[in-house]
Amino acid sequence: MSTLLKVVDLKKYFPVRGGMFHRVVAHVKAVDGVSFELKKGRTLGLVGESGCGKSTLGRAVLRLHEPTSGQIILNGDDLMTLDRQALTAHRRQMQIIFQDPYASLSPRRTIAQTIQEPLDVHKIGTPREREKKVEELLDVVGLRKQVLSRYPHEFSGGQRQRIGIARSLALNPNFIVADEPVSALDVSVQSQVLNLIARLQREHGISFLFISHDLAVIQHVSDDVGVMYLGRLVELASADDLYRQPRHPYTKALMSAIPVPDPNKKSKRIILSGDVPSPMNPPPGCPFHTRCPDAMPRCKEALPPRINVGSEDRPHFVDCHLFAEESAT
């Protein structure tokens, strides 16, 4: 299985300006050195709570937020080295689905215009061919073509999400970033949209970077999963391995916190103390040590190394000092 996307040490810092002269006084370290690989036709789930940087990461990978440093190698080309024109051409390969169905469609444009726009921008086919393609796309996502001349406000949240998905498919991308695509939808609609996304992946072989805070959703859609905390990936493994045997203390706490819709399964909660530190001032050493139930003195001093507790061909990466000791012996 070949690698479609390789992200190396990606960082995105937002400058914070203050003082009388609007000088940069600090940085919000939204993404603080993230590396991972995405294989062709697979889905990498990115899970974490608000403020962990997952949404920023999703956008940085597409250069919608300009990364501060790092490499983004898509099909062999480092996106960071491309000029504007080349980047625009590469955009055909990578697209995005947004979280908010109410803000992701242009209110004053019909959905036909919205879905067709990517084709117009990249001048694909004749106008007649583009119209046909739009109809096909609507069909793929389960909407009738009679609705083409309508405006976004005439649709429900679930339908708007489908329109957004149709738009993202227009250019036949290899890779789609799905940023919390079902979080804003009602529960009974979520499963419909999730099934659609899964089907699209099977039928078109698209790779997804699926971002969500919902561990159950992530398990359903992902082949591999990365857990983020305060701008860093703390654990990265195949979905099966992660859910069966989470290693990082944060992952364990996260999994235990999910309310299970079963009154008999009252899980033993790992309650974390304190609040998430500010990304402007991440704690020294391991970012999680301030809340970690297993923190050791070393955790305050140095960033934990990335340890592979799995095997060579089925890696399970954990960024944690607890495992460094084990592997050192």
């Binding site: 709570e49 009602d186 529960v187 009974s188 499963s191 916190a257 009154p263």
Partner: protein
């Protein structure tokens, strides 16, 4: 679960709440009846538009009237019918007998006043205390809800606190006068999963300490499973099922409840390829069908279902009820 021997704390009968819109009147709550007993937690569950939030707000008459109005029905609390109380009497009750907490702590707290200020305000309104006494009581409450360094925090402003902390402040405010009933409207939806766990634990602990009943309005079945004794499921303004929590989750009777439970993504032992769904969409409140409102989406619907709307039939033995001609299980 209390049944029949103790008198209910709150008794809602045949409540109808209507909103006038330019297309005609819309019944957000269409003839619902339920009871809440002392020391129990009742969940009101459903998706957006089902009427659960309107129900919660109507109990304290917080719905703006116009455009809303209570067409019929009674809300008996402590021997008085809340629908007939004057605004003055209601204000005395709000905060001291019945309290409410909301979803968005940022908008529920006034950003220009310190937290302490707002809490002291509530306390002095309902109890005869000096400023100093109220302040001490407020600090105590903050400590009880698990806010560290309460003596310092009491003078902070909402924006200086995290979402979880603000929510806890709101809980502290709501409980400071020792109400008999707490209405919580999606109290943890806006919070992260790990914070959610903290806050829900806090609420349940306080409920025990204060011998309070709680109505938990939410769409999150996981939260309901973990904290409620009973639950009421609403759909399109009607109650379609009410049951003890174990029964609701393990032996749901209404096809909608069953469909909802099945379609929620949850962490499973084995991954599945396709999530079960409830097909179709929630009907428009302006164009409700005759008969059962779920019939269009129900796999068990018959002609009878489409003709006459089923009403809730309570089983005298279990106390559970369902509005369905073909209940399951």
């Amino acid at each position: 679960m209390s049944s029949g021997h103790t008198a209910p704390l709150l008794s809602v009968r045949n409540l109808v709440v209507e909103f006038s819109t330019r297309y005609g009147p819309v019944r957000a709550v269409d003839d619902i009846s339920f009871d809440v007993y002392p020391n129990e937690t009742v969940g009101i569950v459903g998706e957006s538009g089902c009427g659960k939030t309107v129900t919660g707000l109507t109990l304290l008459r917080l719905i703006p009237m116009p455009p809303g109005r209570i067409v019929q029905g009674s809300i008996e609390f402590d021997g008085r019918d809340l629908t007939k109380l004057s605004e003055k009497d209601l204000q005395e009750m709000r905060g001291s007998d019945i309290s409410m907490i909301f979803q968005e702590p940022m908008t529920a707290l006034n950003p220009v006043f310190s937290v302490g200020n707002q809490m002291i305000d509530v306390l002095r309104r309902h109890k005869n205390l000096t400023r100093g006494q109220a302040r001490e009581l407020a600090i105590n409450m903050l400590d009880t809800v698990g806010i560290p360094a309460p003596r310092k925090r009491i003078d902070e402003y909402p924006h200086q606190m995290s979402g979880g902390m603000r929510q806890r402040v709101m809980i502290a405010m709501a409980l400071s006068c020792g109400p008999k009933l707490l209405i919580a409207d999606e109290p943890t939806t806006a919070l992260d999963v790990t914070t959610q766990a903290q806050v829900m634990e806090q609420i349940v602990k306080l409920q025990d300490e204060f011998h309070m009943s709680m109505i938990l309005v939410t769409h999150d079945l996981g939260v309901v499973a973990e904290s409620c004794d009973r639950a009421i499921v609403m759909y399109c303004g009607n109650i379609i099922e009410t049951a003890a929590i174990d029964d609701l989750f393990h032996k749901p009777q209404h096809p909608y409840t069953r469909g909802l439970l099945d379609s929620i993504p949850r962490i499973r032992e084995e991954r599945i390829t396709e999530l079960p769904i409830i097909r179709g969409m929630v009907p428009d409140l302006l164009h409700l069908p005759d008969g059962c409102r779920f019939a269009d989406r129900c796999p068990r619907a018959t002609a009878e279902c489409r003709q006459d709307k089923p009403v809730v039939k309570i089983d005298p033995v279990t106390g559970n009820g369902v509005a369905c001609y073909h209940p399951m299980g």
